[in-house]
Subunit: 326 residues, 2 copies
Amino acid sequence: MISARREVLAQDHDLTFRVTAIATGTRGCILAPDINLEDALERVAQSAPLSSLDGVQNAPDPLTLIKQADADVLFETSPLNPADGEPASSHVRLALSRGLHVVTANKGPVAFAYRALRSLAAENAVQFRFEGAVMDGAPIFNMVRSCLPAVKVLGFSGALNSTTNIILSSMESGRSFGESLAEAQRLGVAEANADHDIDGWDSAVKAVALANVLMDADLRPSEVIRTGIRQVMAPDLLRARESGNILRLIARGERSRTGVRLTVRPETVRLGTPLATATGANNILTLKTDLMGELSITETAPGVEQTAYALLSDWISIYGARDSRV
Amino acid sequence: MISARREVLAQDHDLTFRVTAIATGTRGCILAPDINLEDALERVAQSAPLSSLDGVQNAPDPLTLIKQADADVLFETSPLNPADGEPASSHVRLALSRGLHVVTANKGPVAFAYRALRSLAAENAVQFRFEGAVMDGAPIFNMVRSCLPAVKVLGFSGALNSTTNIILSSMESGRSFGESLAEAQRLGVAEANADHDIDGWDSAVKAVALANVLMDADLRPSEVIRTGIRQVMAPDLLRARESGNILRLIARGERSRTGVRLTVRPETVRLGTPLATATGANNILTLKTDLMGELSITETAPGVEQTAYALLSDWISIYGARDSRV
């Protein structure tokens, strides 16, 4: 995405870049003053190690790489352990403490360490941005920050997990749970082990990220009242449909006397309401606010490009060069 | 809204203000170094002229007032003539040329004079902001500007007129067109003469505003291919409902070889899709983009407070004091 847009980024956003370090799960970690992105992508496509590129230096692991990199920004996209938010949180912490801006699509650091990382970023006069943590590049965090000034978020509800949306949509058409899960996997939305989606952990981590950032909570995923979709049976879905409803796994945040209460569980959703747009892979979030009432954002059939765009939009925002189009 | 939030605006946004001029349709036009807003509101509530306030000077009309006002920002909210965008465009033009920022909830100036006003604002180093022109304070223009950098808007579709949404929703329940229009008027959504809503002019002006700002078009409302809802009959709505659809007045913008093509007409909308959230007074806009796919925003049951918030959010954005919460 950024390779193909070098000129637009320079012209419209005054943004030029060099890639000085890349850490991968299975292709090694490399450093160099100016890594050719196209060459690096070619090696990955050929299943070759990145160290086979000319003139690059190896690092033993991502943390060492972050320590040694000559860089202004870290893009963090490691796979998440939803039990503790690692290794992403450590990557982010190290980069911020070294004075790098951090852009991540990872919800873990926001759910497990938001307050600490926000303070660390402020201390080091850098930015910690994470639009992709919830609903990919659909503006949620940036929208509240930039477009809803003075607004207080009173609560939220959302269908934030594509895998369960696809499974429940598919079961509505009469397919079994197993067939529907296989369908989500075939579409590339569900991973081989989809337990974290099905049991509501993915939604719970996202709910915590939303609550911690938008509602000033300081919760952890284990504090979410959570029920997955394993108990949802085809007759439940058919019965709902007959009365003009659908069933979806809904993440919900509400202010209570003691703070913010988070739930993730199958809920009946009336057709025609914003939450009912969670068909197929769609994601939807409704924010309940004081000054703007209820606002909902629906992201239609997101793919990996929307996640990439989340990183790109955060990166452009950090450097703040205003787009002159609008 | 701003009276009640003086402290929050000062603390969170570093924004203090004095009201130095007020122009009204029926209570006169006044100038003073520091008008007490609460007193002014009280006079309006008592149907008394604003000139009865102590120490104020009268202006004969809004244009003279804009010429004489000692001000940094004009908030423009005059009723719109959808045939030519006046008097709003003249108000905005005069204020910008005097070096005032302009915030308006009026779609007329954007639909009839966007390019000229944008240039005039740039020449005078001030801002022309109009979030409220479409969907009140729901972030549309500001979202594309601030949260979707580098994204190209390829097209849009939306149900942007509350009156027709209410009428069609009500007719679905078996009521007649006349009863449904009366319902919209009783709710305070439709005006006594709702022809502009029913015949699609309101939606057409909004479509032009969206196209001119987000798609770099330079169209006028008369160029929109437009059909209102007068020909929609109860059996059409029932038939649609039987096959899982609803009918709504949809404004649509698409890029064509010769530029941007705009239509406003009743369309069949499938339940469960974002456009189908246009029930009751709800407004919904779907943006089709290159990098972020399709994004939809639904505003639930907007009222006059959401319009006021549009002005407030634009005003805070002009002064750019970043909210530190997020």
